[in-house]
Symmetry: C2
Subunit: 114 residues, 2 copies
DNA sequence: CCAGACTGTAACGGACCCGAAACAACCATA
DNA sequence: TATGGTTGTTTCGGGTCCGTTACAGTCTGG
């Protein structure tokens, strides 16, 4: 399945969704944060700090801090890996799933009305 | 023209584009900044600080500061309105147009390969 | 058992951003 | 030409994020 978008359509879609994100009451997540969040929810577990850092091409502290703030917002949770206690496993939460469901709705609705 | 996206498709698209933005060398713009940038390039001029603030539902200093940083990056430029010197007109630049062209390409390419 | 490699995290200094409020420049109208 | 309302900007205190570096906990192979 393939979706063809003109330049103007692509930018309009991005603009409309960004505008919706800015205008709603939720605290704005940075691009890095939503990228981490989406990786966790779209790709198969387990997710470790190291893996996420490598996938995004950033340093580990960036991931740690993003998990701190998204953890406060209850969008993700952390747990020690009991098999190898050096690892931290990043896990999904109900709030995180709802947040992304709403995001998908926003994207879908604006794509529909392009 | 209407584009139908499933939940997974919408999130995958967003993830892939966000990942591309994080991984490239350009400094990451915040969601607010790209929203301002897109408004300037997609909607008809003139664009004033006041109008942009109202459109985004944020305060004027937010716009001023975003224009400061994007001005440093040469993505936008400012000029006094000679007709009413209280106004500042926000204008497009070559670099800004190229930036958005690249963004549109990124979005389009990932949409095509959904 | 222990030295080294590997995890994730904390500390640091600097940069940026926020909202609220104060501010300076400018216009309009009486 | 004053005065009130408009514009965009600056300032203030507080917060977040960055990359680098240093650190503490954990595993593993000799």
């Amino acid at each position: 399945m393939s979706v063809a978008l003109s330049t103007a359509q692509a930018l309009t879609l991005w603009h409309d969704v960004a505008l919706a994100l800015v205008r709603d009451d939720e605290p704005d997540l940075s691009v890095r944060q939503v990228c981490i969040l989406l990786t966790i929810y779209l790709e198969a577990p387990p997710h470790t700090v190291r893996d996420l850092a490598k996938k995004l091409g950033v340093t580990k502290p960036v991931i740690t801090r993003a998990l701190d703030t998204m953890g406060k917002l209850e969008l993700v949770s952390r747990r020690r890996d009991e098999k190898d206690r050096r690892n931290v496993l990043v896990q999904r939460t109900v709030k995180g799933a709802l947040y992304l469901e709403r995001l998908a709705d926003t994207i879908g609705n604006h794509a529909k009305s392009l």
